[in-house]
């Protein structure tokens, strides 16, 4: 089996929003619609203030509440974990949008363009099927499917990898197969401390956040091991 998942390394993300721009470019989302967003989170009081940039979007949950509430079965979950929307079935009731705990769904009532009148590229890529229905991040499912059909590996081959991951300047975003113990995402999760957002709600997000290295006190396990071996030798 395959379970596609995404990882955001909070230690690496610099909040440049390149993933956001790449997503908009790849998916031609209208103004105000950001399937991939990066939050600028600041906590604490001066002088003890911490800041993090947190990529968010559809979490492609194991048990997606948006799918259960959908009255039309427009929202479905594929066997590989990707949650999809069939725009031809969606009635635009927005029930899925209020059911999503990650604020990942959008509904655009009418066509809008960056500067009022549509520019040439907007005219070319405008999709009337996406008006007045729910939309969200698809994990760039078309790229994944096309890549797989061409024998490529999503998360490894850029042509088969979500646009946001490809665009990340800091390699903060990683995409891969969670069910493959040797995959990039499995390796990262094994070697780092991580969390999933709102895990208490039981949705089982397919989006993980790395926040520290492995081990009881974080750090760099491999490096620590080397240092310990060196000290033993000495």
């Amino acid at each position: 089996m395959t379970r596609w998942a995404m990882i955001a390394d909070l230690r690496r993300c610099v909040g440049c929003q390149t993933c956001t721009a790449a997503c908009k470019h790849a998916n031609a989302t209208p103004p105000g619609v950001q399937w991939r967003r990066v939050l600028d989170v600041e906590v604490g009081d001066y002088p003890d203030v911490k800041r993090a940039f947190v990529p968010v979007g559809c979490q492609h949950c194991d048990d997606p509440p948006c799918m259960h509430v959908c009255p039309t079965t427009a929202t479905r979950k594929r066997a590989d974990g990707i949650v999809t929307i069939d725009y031809d079935l969606c009635i635009g009731c927005a029930y899925c949008a209020v059911a999503c705990p990650y604020q990942a769904r959008y509904k655009t009532e009418r066509a809008t363009f960056a500067y009022g009148a549509p520019a040439a590229h907007e005219t070319k890529r405008h999709d009337p099927d996406r008006i007045a229905v729910a939309t969200k991040c698809t994990f760039c499912v078309e790229r994944i499917d096309a890549g797989l059909a061409a024998g490529m590996t999503p998360g490894v081959d850029p042509e088969a990898t979500p646009a946001c991951v490809n665009a990340c300047i800091a390699q903060a975003l990683t995409f891969g197969d969670l069910d493959d113990p040797a995959s990039n995402v499995s390796t990262l999760l094994e070697g780092n401390r991580h969390f999933r957002m709102h895990s208490e709600l039981g949705t089982g997000p397919g989006f993980y956040y790395l926040w520290d290295g492995a081990g009881p006190d974080g750090g760099v396990p491999a490096l620590r091991k080397l240092v310990e071996q060196a000290m033993e030798l000495a």
Binding site: D9, L10, R11, R12, L39, V41, V43, G44, K50, A52, V54, V56, P65, M67, H68, V69, C70, P71, T72, T73, A74, L89, C90, I91, G92, C93, A94, Y95, A97, V98, A99, C100, P101, Y102, Q103, K107, E109, I131, A132, V133, G191, N192, R193, F195, M197, H198, L201, T203, Y209, L210, W211, D212, G213, A214, G218, G219, V220, P221, A222, L223
Partner: protein, 285 residues
């Protein structure tokens, strides 16, 4: 636990969606209360038809909100898991049962009371679906409370009872028992609100936003009508009893409707974003 950008009030469902809960609740409540009050004949038929019309008005209102109204028929596609689909199916059953019961009451058929009771059961199922619909919206802490369904059901019944007594002078079927029943439903609604309020304590924004409507529900929508009902119970002049009962009914109705609007429009803060661990930088392998 630290939070990112603060939760904000959802804007996907507006007054049109709220109207579905308000009108649907009142309409179903009227149908249930007419049966509980032992209504019969033309007044019972009118209550059934009026209740059904209100339910229809609520569904029409929400139909105006959906993005693709001409695909609305697809709402029936997923009764397996969606409470919205289930609500749609129950609405069809309610329409059929209410019309049959109304016709039987109008014709003074012997089994009219049974038909009215069956319609009341379906109406009860309709408001239960509405409560569970909110409860299934995991993205809104104030809706996903386990006490939401109970609150929506009791509120709807109290609103329906209030509507029944608001026009009691017109149908002349307001018995003392039915007056007491309104009081019982008001108390039940207050208890449901208090139980619900405890469950949303962990969502402070929603709790604060709902507090004014909650107070209005408790004071103007419950205590004031209870006082009016108590005074009415001591009266012997029928005009006074009907007048005070109508006032109590209006307050019960308005309090519940106002609360539901607040629940959909003001208390509906979303989940926001949580970052339980801030990054420890410089530690990547």
């Amino acid at each position: 636990m630290s939070y990112g950008p603060a939760p904000w009030v959802q804007r996907h469902w507006d007054l049109r969606a709220a109207a579905n809960f308000v009108f649907g609740g009142i309409g179903s409540g009227v149908i249930v209360f007419a049966s509980l009050a032992g209504a019969r004949g033309t007044p019972a038929a009118l209550a059934l038809v009026a209740g059904l019309a209100l339910v229809g008005a609520g569904l029409f209102s929400v139909w105006l909100e959906i993005g693709r109204p001409f695909r609305a028929i697809r709402v029936f596609t997923n009764p397996r898991t969606s409470w919205m689909s289930r609500e749609a199916y129950v609405a069809i059953a309610l329409a059929a049962m209410a019309l049959v019961a109304a016709w039987m009451h109008r014709a003074e058929a012997p089994a009219a009371t049974v038909a009215g009771a069956l319609a009341a059961l379906v109406a009860l199922a309709f408001v239960y679906c509405q409560g569970r619909m909110l409860n299934a919206a995991k993205g809104i802490p104030a809706w996903r409370s386990p006490a939401t369904a109970g609150l929506i059901v009791t509120t709807s019944l109290a609103e329906g009872a209030g509507a029944w007594w608001l026009v009691a002078a017109a149908h002349a079927q307001g018995t003392r028992g039915a007056l007491a029943l309104l009081g019982v439903l008001l108390v039940a609604r207050l208890l449901a609100w208090l139980a619900y309020r405890r469950t949303i304590a962990g969502a402070p924004r929603a709790a604060a936003a709902l507090a004014p409507a909650g107070w209005a529900l408790a004071v103007a929508g419950t205590l004031a009508p209870l006082v009016l009902l108590a005074v009415a119970a001591t009266m012997s002049v029928e005009a006074w009893v009907l007048g005070l009962s109508a006032a109590a009914g209006a307050l019960a109705l308005a309090g519940g409707a106002w609360f539901k609007i607040a629940l959909i429009l003001r208390g509906a803060y979303n989940q926001g974003f949580a970052v339980p661990h801030m990054p420890v930088r410089g530690a990547r392998t």
